[in-house]
């Protein structure tokens, strides 16, 4: 939806503030010539935004540990976060500057780096981790009985090399926007508002870029995201389980380091065999166009599969996973370089890119989606020789809310 004055007024009015945009100089964009970054996404609705929302160009994903001892403190923080998120996604600061300037003697509740920036289609998607229900055997907030059956612990998968400091979390907030500064700004404000109740455990920035209408390419140079989920009502939104998760979805995040140096040494034919698609066109092997159906049954004259049996697209395809589908919403990441010992011969050691994919997916039930899919993929996907999962977590993202409610309210009912 475009960020029109009327909609903005509506959002602002609901929050009881007269501010129209971040900072006094923020102009309301023209309704006749909106650029992508001038659009805003609705915060309220049956489902949380940031799941089926057309994917923005940047993410800043944050996982928090809860430090609150009391349930009431957690509820109060979620109420504060809800108010702040409604403002931020509408392109407003957490605390407006009255009269165009701040009181120089006061500490302001907004760091200000998004002042003058538009909403940039910011979405904030909230999730509850296992520690909300039980942490170290303790039911801290009286919520243990509310844990959905579908919200199982992720098992350890073959090849996992999870880093403690980049794994897990009691809460998640996925910030996505068409401006990286807007996404970071949002998490920064929420983290600050959580002081004394929750603290950051790990964060991950990500990006994706493509010409309009083109499927973005990942850091391996291949189009990534050609296949999309076919029936969101069935595959994405939780229909069973407790009421508080109705209309919600289960999020699995995985920080996947890709050995780009190793990958770059492979010839294109082998790269294409590994992925199962042609590198330039994105077409499945043996086909012509990107969106052609995967010819999974096609074989060569010797009976060998055209798309190898261990190619990534084959092992990830619904037809080889009992029909399971997930909504992928990942981003590339690039955290510079660090010392690494690769987990494949010849066991290369040295400074290498800490870059790859922040894989994010949503599903109605992880027990029949990500978990069995990746259990198989972790063992046979040819990509495993280049990719190592180093962090992530699973979070239950509740359904959306209406104005006057707070995020996850039904969980505490």
């Amino acid at each position: 939806m475009s960020l029109t004055r009327g909609r903005l007024l509506g959002a602002a009015g609901a929050l009881g503030t007269a501010a129209l945009a971040r900072g006094a100089a923020a102009a309301v964009p023209s309704a006749t010539s909106p650029s992508a970054s001038n659009l805003s996404e609705p915060f309220y609705g049956r489902h949380q935004a940031g799941i089926l929302t057309p994917q923005q160009s940047h993410t800043y994903f944050a996982a928090f540990d809860l430090t609150a001892a009391k349930r009431s403190d957690l509820i109060a923080m979620l109420q504060t976060w809800t108010d702040a998120a409604a403002r931020l996604t509408a392109g407003l600061p957490v605390q407006p500057a009255g009269g165009g300037s701040y009181d120089a003697k006061k500490i302001v509740l907004d760091s200000g780096e998004a002042t003058d920036l538009p909403a940039a289609r910011l979405t904030l998607t909230f999730g509850f981790g296992p520690g909300v229900f039980v942490k170290d055997g303790t039911d801290r907030y009286g919520l243990a009985a509310k844990r959905p059956a579908a919200f199982v612990d992720l098992p350890r998968f073959n090849g996992d090399q999870m880093i403690e400091g980049k794994t897990g979390g009691d809460l998640s907030v996925q910030a996505c926007a068409d401006d990286p500064q807007v996404a970071f700004h949002a998490i920064r404000q929420l983290a600050r508002l959580a002081d004394g109740v929750a603290q950051l455990r790990w964060v991950q920035a990500g990006f994706r870029s493509a010409e309009t209408g083109e499927t973005p390419r990942n850091l391996m140079g291949f189009k990534d995201g050609t296949q999309t989920v076919s029936n969101p009502d069935h595959f994405v939104w939780a229909a069973d389980g407790p009421r508080w998760m109705r209309g919600g979805s289960y999020l699995v995040a995985r920080r996947i380091r890709i050995a780009l140096e190793h990958w770059d040494r492979m010839n294109v034919a082998f790269q294409e065999q590994t992925i199962g698609r042609q590198k330039v066109s994105g077409a499945p092997l043996g086909m012509t166009h990107e969106f052609d159906q995967l010819p999974l049954a096609a074989t060569d004259k010797d009976g060998n599969s055209i798309i190898p049996d261990t190619a990534h697209v084959r092992v990830a395809n619904a037809s080889t996973n009992d029909g399971a589908q997930i909504l992928r919403r990942g981003y590339s990441y690039n955290d510079g370089v660090s010392f690494v010992a690769e987990r494949w011969p010849p066991w290369r050691q040295g400074m290498e890119y800490d870059a790859g994919l922040l894989f994010v997916c949503y599903q109605s039930d992880p027990r029949t989606a990500f978990i069995p899919m990746f259990d198989k993929m972790s063992k046979i996907d040819m990509l495993n020789q280049f990719a190592t999962h180093t962090g992530g977590g699973m979070f239950a993202c509740p359904g959306g809310i209406s104005q006057g409610e707070y995020v996850g309210q039904d969980l505490f009912a």
Partner: protein, 388 residues
């Protein structure tokens, strides 16, 4: 860790496809003539089990086929150890898995601590592993803390009971880094182990020989015979240690950790064959079971040709030696009497390494019925078999 049959089939297809693509590299292809050896009749490759354990250990090295049932081990079970822990660093693995061909189930057989009293440098389980007829398992440690010889400490040999518990640790001036696959002459109540020992005064891989520009070669590696007494119901004890080969070359390597004498295989006449990874040769040590002195560097049986960084070495039922290459995915079949390399066959054709399969092979073992091979795939951390 169990392997589905669907997976096994898909792997066979992959290997078949890649082998076809690499046909130009095939050496000694089988024709209509009677087989010259064992390898040419092995066409089916099946992945059996992942060796990755719950603690993330990987990089499988040794393969041992259990000669007897004892403790948790059933006869013909396949034991495989891991050289790396979850950090990916070589010389840090502490686990041994037990794969049952009968049930196709895989269990964790042993998980040692990272440090064990009596093993000076810590634990990094190597390819030196054997199971005695009395049920005891002997496994070597060639440890490091950073995956290179820069932090390589002195290793040791562990004795494990058949339930995976450490019952003895052997170290000392002759036992520095038990490295390649062991051979054994096992009489039940006595036995002789043959172990390649590398790592004597090997510096960090960054220490270069100015003449070659490569890591320095230190000619101090040995082959040690360890004569054991095995009292009924008690762990084996060392009766005698005899250095039967010495002055063999060893060399650090940043990626491959260590080159040196590696595999050893005992011939029916008591000749011990040793793979010399630094010089890509196979040497022989006469009278290995009985000799009381070192034979020095032995006599070269064959060198270079198809052999490139030879690692594990075993004796096939037909009297031929099988040697896994370190620098590609081939195993070489050798007639040791004639001193002739018969051919090489690809076991691993993974193009993610250059040349294909580089660094992927290490341990190898003959199946109990003599019809095929077990081998490890270090690229995917699987135990695999090759069968007709």
């Amino acid at each position: 860790m169990n392997q589905s049959s669907a997976f096994a089939r898909s792997f066979s297809c992959k290997v078949a496809a890649l082998l076809s693509a690499l046909a130009v590299l095939q050496i000694g292809a089988a024709g209509a003539n009677p087989p010259q050896g064992l390898l040419e009749v092995l066409h089916r490759h099946t992945l059996l089990t992942s060796t990755v354990t719950d603690n993330g250990d990987l990089n499988p090295y040794a393969i041992v086929v259990a000669p007897v049932s004892a403790g948790r081990i059933k006869a013909d079970d396949v034991l495989v150890d891991n050289f790396n822990n979850v950090s990916n660093l070589q010389g840090t693995g502490t686990t041994i898995i037990d794969y049952s061909p009968a049930t196709k189930k895989t269990t964790l057989f042993a998980k040692l601590p990272q440090n064990v009293a009596g093993c000076p440098g810590g634990v990094g389980l190597s390819t030196a592993m054997i199971m005695l007829k009395s049920g005891w398992i002997v496994v070597g440690s060639t440890p490091s803390t950073d995956g290179t010889t820069r932090t390589k400490g002195d290793g040791c040999l562990f004795v494990l009971d058949p339930n995976g518990n450490v019952v003895a640790t052997w170290a000392g001036p002759n036992i520095v880094d038990p490295w390649g696959n062991m051979a054994v002459a096992d009489n039940g109540t006595t036995a002789s182990l043959f172990v390649s020992m590398a790592g004597f005064d090997v510096p960090a891989p960054t220490v270069k020989d100015p003449a070659t520009g490569a890591a320095v070669i230190v000619r101090k590696a040995t082959v040690l015979r360890i004569d054991l007494a095995i009292p009924e119901g008690k762990p084996p004890t060392i009766v005698r240690e005899t250095v039967i080969a010495s002055g063999l070359p060893q060399q650090a390597d940043l990626d491959n950790f260590l080159f040196g004498p590696t595999g050893v295989a005992l011939g029916p006449d008591g000749t011990l064959y040793v793979s010399n990874a630094v010089e890509s040769s196979i040497v022989k040590i006469p009278d290995a079971v009985t000799r009381t002195t070192s034979a020095g560097t032995g006599t070269v049986v064959t060198s270079k040709g198809l052999i490139t960084d030879p690692l594990s070495l075993i004796m096939a039922p037909n009297g031929h030696l099988l040697s896994t290459n370190g620098l590609n995915g081939q195993v070489v079949e050798i007639d040791p009497v004639a001193g002739k390399q018969i051919y090489a066959q690809w076991l691993d054709v993974d193009q993610a390494q250059t040349p294909p399969g580089n660094g992927d092979l290490f341990g190898i073992a003959i199946k109990p019925d003599g019809t095929g091979l077990y081998y490890v795939e270090d690229d995917t951390n699987f135990l695999a078999e090759a069968t007709p």
